[in-house]
Amino acid sequence: MNAQQHDEGARQAPKEEYEDIPGTWVFDAQRARQGYHLNEFLYSLMKDANRKEFLADEGRYTLKFKMTGAQREAVLKRDWNTLLELGGVSYALAKLAFTDGKSYQFMASRMTGMTEKEYVDMMLKGGRSPDGWRSKSERQGKD
């Protein structure tokens, strides 16, 4: 970003660029809009009383928020990647993991389809290399 580029006028969100990153749902303004009520539900889990109420009757508690049916179902199933796709943001989703007594690391491992141990081992070996993961074309045939 240089000063000249700042003079180009209104900017479009680089949607195609976002969507070309494999295994990633970028939390942009449109996705945030779709996820608003889902994220407000997740935010409510910051309070211990709400966590208890949710765990006592998950179906009933989630009805207090204006989520879509698909969002609600993904919450009940802890379907983490669907929650990301439907507008959940990872930091808010983590509150659901914490409510279950789990960690960020557990949640991230679930999103990758690994066991937590496999995920921790990958991290201990230096993490996931970006090679092969920068674009969908780079990823093709690797899964």
Partner: protein, 282 residues
Amino acid sequence: MARIVAGVGTSHTPAIGAAVDNGRAGEPYWIPLFKGYEPAKAWMARTKPDVVIMVYNDHVNAFDFKIIPTFALGCAEEFPIADEGWGARPVPPVPGHPELAAHLIQSLVLDEFDMTIVNEMQVDHGLTVPLTLLCGTPREWPCRVIPLAVNVIQYPAPTGHRCYMLGKAIRKAVASWPEDLKVVIFGTGGMSHQIQGPRAGLVNREFDEAFLDGLSRDPERLVRIQPIEYLRDAGAEAIELVMWLIMRGALGEQVEEVHRFYHVPASSTAVGNIILESRETS
């Protein structure tokens, strides 16, 4: 007058705080990390800043999605610790510096940075983990802290260029405060990491090392890194690194790198720590 004497770049991974709070810092997994932070901790104890300006991001704790400020400055007397979903961290509340914060608002807004003024705010791991790493576990924090929360969660985050310019404006604002105060500015978050989706766990050591080199020797190169490059090359959450550019902008042109540490992993994160002392006279 008040002066920004140095900048600290550090990750703020929540698992680091949890390791300290739960007495696990001595476990083999964590030993290299805490050992790596010892020089920074010693530097902090020697430097004894009066005030820390802590550039960090809130993680859906102080701000839900009702209001998302791009740049929010904490102007309160004291900041309580947030319960992020597993109970609040057992660390002392964070004392603010409302007089200097009010002055920063005055100066920054007139300098065309439209800051959001926050008079009550809980602070989360983004702010408390760097304090733990640099100050340990005291009964009271040894300095006052002005939180500067940056939205890096909902895209777009402010650009690196904007962040760098804000840093420069902060330097100017601090220098126009008459009281003799030693100020250290922190840029936190990062380094490469992704904690969402099938690509979670991404680490790009090469990117991170080049970023640390750039802070030290060529910040103008870092300022030109586009948001999509952080995302693609260093992980969806690596965009937090723009906050380090606020820190770097606030140090003036001339800096001396006095410490650097890099370690993988802490949970899903590549951890970086750099200390840059300002060599500017003004």
